[in-house]
Every structure is written in C-alpha cells, then in structure tokens.
C-alpha cells in the first residue's frame, strides 16, 4: 500500500543522509521525497512516500523515531504522530 510520511527534521550536518540511509539500510524503497523549509530555519520538513504493508509501516515509524535529529514523524493517513 502507498503511504506518505511527514517528518520534521533538525537541520544538522548529515541529518537528511541519516533518514535516507535508514530507509535504504532497512530495505524500504522511497518513491518520492520532498524537502521543504519551515518557518523555523533550523527545521525542515520531509515528505516521503513509499510502498509497504501495515507491519512494515509500524517498524518504519518506530525506527525513524530513533533518529536523534528527527523531531516528529507523522503518518497523516492514520494520524500516527509522535
């Protein structure tokens, strides 16, 4: 199933690479990725879409939340925010 995640990320050296690297290392294929500025210059928003089942989605959300620079991960479709 297609899922869209919205990630708020601190603008630190290598932060984007770590998010992309996590997805690559755990075998999740990113279909689209958009990075946009937010009103806070220290924070960017990543909007990311991928294909996966529900179980994998749960893992992706949890693993992404372990990244230190990640402020928030949301899955708007299910409002699984944290």
């Amino acid at each position: 199933m297609n899922h869209t995640l919205s990630i708020l990320l601190q603008n630190e050296a290598g932060a984007l690479v770590r998010v992309a690297g996590l997805f690559a290392a755990r075998g999740y294929n990113i279909d689209t990725l958009t990075v946009t500025a937010t009103h806070d210059p220290a924070v960017s928003r990543l909007t990311l879409s991928l294909q996966c089942d529900e179980a994998a989605l749960g893992q992706i959300l949890q693993q992404t939340r372990k990244l230190v620079d990640v402020l928030q991960v949301a899955h708007p479709a299910t409002a699984l925010a944290a």
Partner: protein, 623 residues
Amino acid sequence: MNAPALKAETTTDRHPLAGHSMSGAEVIVQVLADEGVGVLFGYSGGAILPVYDAVFRHNATHTCVDGSAEEVREPMRLVVPANEQGAGFMAAGYARASGKVGVAIVTSGPGATNMVTPVRDSMADSIPLVVICGQVGTAAIGSDAFQEAPVSNIMGACAKHVFLVTDATQLEATVRTAFTLARSGRPGPVVVDVPKDVQNATLVWQGRGELALAGYRARLRAVEQAVLGDTDCAAFFAALLQAQRPLIYAGGGVIAAEAAEALRAFVDAFGLPVATTLMGLGGFDSTDPLALHLLGMHGTAYANYAVEDCDFVLALGARFDDRVAGVPDKFAPRARFIAQVDIDPAEIGKVKRVDWQHVGPLKRALERLTAYGRVHGLKPQLAAWHAHVAELKRAHAMNYDRESALVLPYAVIEAINRHAQGRAVVSTGVGQHQMWAAQYFDFRAPRHWLTSGSMGTMGFGLPAAVGAQFAHPHKLVIDIDGDASIRMNIGELETVTTYGLPIKVVVLNNVGDGMVRQWQKLYFKGRFAASDKSLHKKDFVLAAQADGFGWARRLERVDELEPVIADFLAYPGPAFLEVMIDPDAGVYPMVGPGASYAQMITGDFIPARAAAAARKDSPSHMF
C-alpha cells in the same frame, strides 16, 4: 543508565572554570574530566594532535593519588592499542564490564575507519561509547584532503548518532550531549567528528549546557516516565495465573538496565524459570535451580525444551533475534501469551506479535510487577512445572565424552570455571570457543561476560579483556579466544604487557575456523574452503613470549589439564595458555538455521528427546 539523562536541565551549580578561555581541544578534555572519564583508549595522528596534547597537559597538571595504593597516577590514563579497532573494543570492554560510557579517541581518515567495526558492534549490542574523531579542517572538508574520510556518512549508518562539529561554539555542548545520548534510553555509540580548526579555536568554557535535541528528549522522557498502571499489572497477572508453564526469556536489556536484582526479586516472588540469551548471561545466576542458562541456536537442550514446552513467555530486554527465534512462528509454539518489556518501542512486536507490552525502564517495571503481585497475593502454582524443569535439566544436562584421549574444549572451560566460579570477567572471540564458553561457564552476576553477540566480531576478545581489566584492576579477567579470532587483533598481546595487565589469555586451538568447519561439515559436505589452518606456521607461545608474557605455555595432554590451568590462573602477571584441542569437537546442542527447537540436534553425549533423536537424517554423524 537512565538517571543522568536529563542532567543538564537540573544542574545549576556554576562550574569553577566557567568563563575561562580554552582551546577546543581543552574543552573536549574538560568535558571528559567532568564526566569522570578515567581512561581513554586511542591512537594519535595529525588531525587529533591538539586533543592528545591537551590530554597530556591535563595529566601533567592534575596528578591524583590513588586511595588504596597511595600511588600517584594520571587522572586520564591514555591507553594506546596496536590498531584503532583495538581501542574501540577496549572502550567497549570497559563499558560492558563497568556500565560506564567507554571513550575512544582517534585521528581522521584511517583512524576513524578502523573504528567503524567496534562502533557498529557496540550499536548492535547496545553498548554506550563516545568516540572522538579528528577531522581535516572545516575549509578542507570535501576536498579529498589528506586523511579525509566522510565520517559522518560512514558512522551515521552504524552509530546511535554522529555529530560533525562545524561551529566551534557548539563543541562543549556537543561533547557533553554525546555522553547523554550514549547512555540514555537504549544505549549505543555516539561519534563526535571534530575538525582540526575547531580543536584549535579559542573558546570560552561554559561549564554547563547541552544541545536541545527536542525530539529525542521528548521521546526519551515519555519512555522513561512510562509507568505500569494497575490495569496493565492486572492484565499481566491474569494471564500469568492462567498459565501452567510460564517462562522468562531474559536478554541483554536486563544487564543494560541494571535490572538483575529486580529480576531476582521477581523470580523469588513468582517462581518463573529463566532462560537467558547470549547477551543476557549474568542477568540471572546460572547456578540457580530455576536458571535454564542459554537458549537459542547453541542453547542448552533443557532451555530449548523448556521454551518448546512453555505456555507463557515474558521477554525482558530481549528482541527475538534470529539466533533465538530463527523461525519466529515456531518459537515457543505452545505459548498462549507473550509479554514483552523493552526500552525501545521499535523492538515491541518487531519479530513476534505480543499480547502484552510495556515500553519503559525494565528495573522499574519489574519492581512494579513484583509489588503489585505481592500486594494482591498473586502467586502462580508452579510445582508441576518446576518438577518438569528440574527433570529437563537432569535428563538433558550439558555433557561430552569424558573419556576422550584428546583435550576437549568443554573440559578446559569446566576446569577454568572451577577456579573462576562465576566471579571472573570472561571475554571471547567469535566461533565455537565462544559458544563453549557461554555454555560451560557459570554466570553469577551481570557484567562478567563480554562477547560480541549481535555482530559476532572475531578479534573482540583480547581488546575487550584489556578494557575490562582497566575497569576492574583487581578482578580476574580471562580471554577465551580462538586461534583464528585472536589473530585478528593479535597486536594487542603487546598492549597487555605494555600496561602490565594480569590478563589470562586462553587460545583454544583447533587449527582453524572451527565454527566455519562445523557449518561446512553440516551443509557443504565437508569441503573446508578457507577454514583450515594446518599450513599456518605461527607458534602462539613464542608470539606471546616475544610480546613479553612472563607465563606462556602450550597444553596438549589431558593429564596436564588440571595442574597447568591452576598454575596459569595463579600467575600474577600476564599469562598466555594455548590449548591444542580436538579439532573435531563440535558445538552441541545446535538448532540449525530454519529448524525449530524440537528439531535441535544434541550430539552423542546429551540425550535428545525421542522424536528428534530418532530422526534418520540427523546430521550429527558428520561431526
């Protein structure tokens, strides 16, 4: 692990050096000093020279007197390995044995890349490290400069976190935050990459402050403050009281969370037998009647049969890894209820669906459950299950050919164990010797068993022992190594003698990569590609002597075993014992890849249950 996590927010005292001018390198050393770091493991080089110089100056101006020995010693001892990988495993051995954060400092480029393996190893086993890497100057980053490596990219893929410090004013807070990150929540290695100009920058020491990391800290706070409510406890006990055969599956989290005492109290209160993972050894006294020792691929037959028979599993800081639950559906197939407690929300239900869960500090969770059960007078009636477990332990005890004319590794470990009695710190390489050590040693307390569990990194044992001996100068530290594993970091033999460490190094020599051969016998028709070392020329005893070991011997005869081991362990300084073991000795029991515990093979000396023993295609004859 948890207490100091949010320290910076509560510290209000002004640091005595606040407002002083310092170089970046001095700032790094001052943070280390404030964190109580007494020993550093590392190797110098161009891009880290300012930090090493600052350590030198710190030690020259801050000598301190050791209470017991009355000797003057350096407050921040520098231990230099043969290779940075050695420094990383020393820091990891120090952390594993002490529970404190291990610190390693290396130069840029090759120094940092040599550190990748211990960082990944520590991540996989949840070991807290802070690794400081020198980096080329900020202006040179990205220019393919001399000894430049993309440390933030490389380490970002394998550490808990990496900081590349480009703004010197953030250096102090960053290094301090690295310690908080390393030990908080699920512990892990944190790398701080510091360009040389940042080390040389002139800064004003603040003496307090950490990076905000709002997301991490909010999630950490939520996990650390999570409490088990009455309904959670009631649901847990309702299921437990319905169970006839409940079992605890205890992992490395018990040790990381300092929860061994709480586990002891829980077991005393409710009587659940405990099987332990490779990382959990020492989390529960393996000599206890309710201890089932190791479970999994090379677990004891009785632990694995108990898992097969149990109807309730309580997983504590354990993650159903593939060496335990190779086939998740077949793991604990009769369990009607699985409960899991972990500090990492991502581990809940990752491999196996669970019926009850708690994400939070394990110690507090166990204390809460124990208190709840006691207050409500809840006590499972487990007499029949206890009798069953006792019978499993009796009928399927670990055993081997006690009449063998060749020295058997099991007998060597048992002999060492009779002296150590669960009180020595034991490190290992990776392979058969590691599994024999896990199976045949007693483990009575946490932090006495140092092994590369998840990564399974050969070469871990010797440097880990060095780190452990620095953590516990007066404890007996034994490295049980393999002839191939020890070769990987054999340069560290010299480190042992340079620092006069009384480590006891044992090489169980089966002339090759025994574990690889075991798999080749089982699954590749005995074609020993690249695993035989009979043409190798190394004389290990001469090598140890050349590196200054005052006691170095080769043991080849069964009748010499007891006296030689007694002599070896009694030697006050660094001692090296090579034991020529039966090269055909196998690791039993074994749950092969893809097999269930019921299909475990137990070899010729551990009775299997009828069903498995009768299997005609049992590959045990191939050992």
